[in-house]
Symmetry: C2
Subunit: 409 residues, 2 copies
């Protein structure tokens, strides 16, 4: 007998923000089951519950133990799974909710940002056989010592993908408040198009650069195990965007999307002496201070000194400046300057690998719009430029048009 299709469905916090939406999710899940599938549902905490719990902890202490924070935060998902189970029962359909502990979502011991190491399938498989629908608390797991862990921001995505991998699901549907992945932000470019299909690598570049629909780590995991993802809206029946490995139909499309990221700031350490190991020292120091650096540019000049520029998340700017100024003295550089009024614009597309001229076209488009490029960084499937924030949206519009993204592909 053929095995039933198994669909993993993940609903984020906004999809279960209130009773009405929970009932809506219940209907979606039941429809999927009625189409002949088994369904594993992963839910996040209701609306802003996680933030509210963190605020509650903040009222008690400035520095809560991460172990106790996990104990606290994991209640959010436990509430949503039980309510969703009740909502599905109300429709006359069997379903059971399970915590991370009950499933056996084994993680490492790094509280508040644990990584999944293994997912037991025995209990879920038993319950799927019995009910056809199993609701699993996202964002949470359990250490070998039976301690509750959480998976960090966006961790429910990882729970969903992890379950899809462990259970060999046919598809992992990510329900969110957008209808899919667009060629660019529709709020900026009116004729931005929803993409039918993109590949994992493209999604990774899009997700990590502003189109933050899904946690990057979970896209990587899906890619590694070749689990198709379907990003779609929980408020509409429309098909969303399928994320899968590169397929034939993707050939010929050079640029898939344009992304805009206004959340980074640029920092330059001026006139760093041209001695081996200084760049390493700078980024090692920043790493130790837990500062994530995105782009890095270094240009050696003829004077025997060099300017080193890099970008960091704006929230980290003050901390970074402090570290950089300390460093500046130690390595005898001339000084530190920073600019928070910048934006990073990227064009992304797996087709770039076999097409030259994308960079030239991008730079020319920006030049035609009189937009000055401050930094450039490239990868196999992405070209990013840092420009002044003022011209950023104009740049996105121009690039979207220049690469023909408004036309159906």
């Amino acid at each position: 007998m053929a095995r039933k299709k198994l669909v993993v469905q993940k609903f984020g916090g906004s999809s279960v923000a209130n009773v009405e939406r929970i009932l809506n999710v219940a209907r979606r899940v039941v429809e999927t089951k009625k189409k002949g599938n088994n369904v594993v549902v992963v839910v996040s905490a209701l609306g802003d519950t996680t933030d509210e719990l963190i605020e509650l902890a903040a009222k008690i202490t400035d520095s809560p133990s991460e172990r106790e924070l996990d104990m606290l935060m994991s209640t959010g998902e436990q509430i949503s799974i039980s309510l969703l189970a009740m909502a599905i029962h109300k429709l006359g359909i069997g379903a059971i909710s399970l915590t991370g502990q009950q499933v056996g979502i084994a993680t490492d011991k790094v509280h508040t940002k644990a990584r999944i190491e293994k997912i037991e399938t025995k209990r879920i498989e038993k319950e799927l056989q019995k009910h056809g629908i199993v609701i699993v608390a996202g964002f949470q797991g359990i250490t070998p010592e039976n301690e509750i862990t959480t998976l960090g921001r966006g961790g429910s995505d990882m729970s969903a993908v992890g379950l899809a991998i462990a259970l060999k699901a046919d598809v992992c549907e990510i329900f969110t408040d957008v209808e899919g992945i667009y060629t660019t932000d529709p709020r900026i470019v009116k004729n931005a198009r929803k993409l039918k299909q993109i590949c994992y690598e493209e999604m990774l570049e899009m997700a990590s650069m502003g189109a933050q629909v899904m946690q990057a780590r979970s896209i990587e995991a899906a890619s590694k195990f070749n689990i198709p993802l379907h990003v779609r809206s929980s408020f509409s029946e429309k098909e969303g965007t399928i994320i899968s490995k590169e397929v034939k139909s993707m050939e010929g499309v050079v640029v898939r999307g344009v992304t805009l990221n206004k959340s980074e700031a640029k920092i330059t350490i001026c006139k760093v002496p041209n001695k081996p190991g200084l760049a390493a020292k700078i980024f090692e120091t920043l790493g130790k201070a837990n500062i994530n650096v995105d782009m890095i540019i270094q240009n050696i000049s003829e004077t025997g000194a060099t300017d080193i520029s890099f970008t960091v998340i704006k929230d980290d700017l003050n901390k970074t400046l402090k570290v950089a100024k300390d460093l500046c003295e130690k390595i005898k550089a001339a000084g530190v300057i920073s600019d928070a009024d910048v934006a990073k614009i990227s064009v992304v597309g797996i087709g770039m690998r076999s097409h030259s001229g994308v960079a030239a076209k991008m730079f020319k488009t920006l030049a035609d719009e009189k937009i000055n490029i401050e930094m450039i960084s490239t990868s196999e499937i992405k070209i990013s430029c840092v420009v002044g924030k003022a011209g950023a949206e104009k740049a996105v519009k121009a690039l979207h048009k220049a690469f023909g993204l408004h036309k159906a592909s």
Copy 2:
């Protein structure tokens, strides 16, 4: 080396209703530890959290699955234990919170009113050795199938007593919003006195009849294993009331307290044919309908028929009347009458066992106050009278005085 004294402290929902109170509880716990004790703390959910969660479920469905209700409700205590742990850490003291599952509080499978079957002590003992303070989620346990259960209203008392028994604690302190057990309700009788010490049997009679400070089941359990209970206020340093087995100092005091219970209604099935087995049939039927009957009075008259009266919780009155009227037809009784405007007044004291005349004194006191007695029921250590609600407080005052309860004993 002598073992450290082990104190189990239970804090109810009102003791942890807000951040300030949680910090207060943290100080109480730390003080107890600093006196050289190990401390196991049992906490209920913050304030009215449990009720709020039940209301949330009620918005989803009229008939939530009890298994899912337990999944939902158990989050309340998980929130309070983590916050209390953080509050204790803030004072610079080590502590760890544990869920019912992490402790290993094994219960039966009766969701929403499970009974504790066994408590594992290994994890707690390990953590006590390490931190000296362990915070345990009250009200919750786990079945052999790893399903979350809750212990019913007041279940945190049972958690505390159960832990005290399993860990062979020296005392189990029940922190609440009253300062102890009083000779009667101080809101009715101004010179009501706080009792220094009472025995389990007296506490049981007091608790089940209106002085609802502690769940009866947990008092029984403490009695069985001879765990001293200390009922005291979480808002005051004063000693409360010690509940222990009967001790010498209790001798000579005949009546320990007067209790008033206005929450019951009286029902009479009139002219029940005098046939064997009919009384059994009546109370069997009520039992099957999940109606708890308190007092039962039957007086066989000469006519070959008898009136059977009993009391039930007022909330159950409508349901009871329906069942009673059905029964009435079946057994060919004359009819059913009910009275919700009644109150039950009881005098309680273990000394009654060896002193006669208590009943006579009670009846005479009520007669002197011109209060009509509608029902009487007696046990070894308690005499209860049902009277009209209007005269109830007057009756309590008169009895409190007549038995000399205002005088120190």
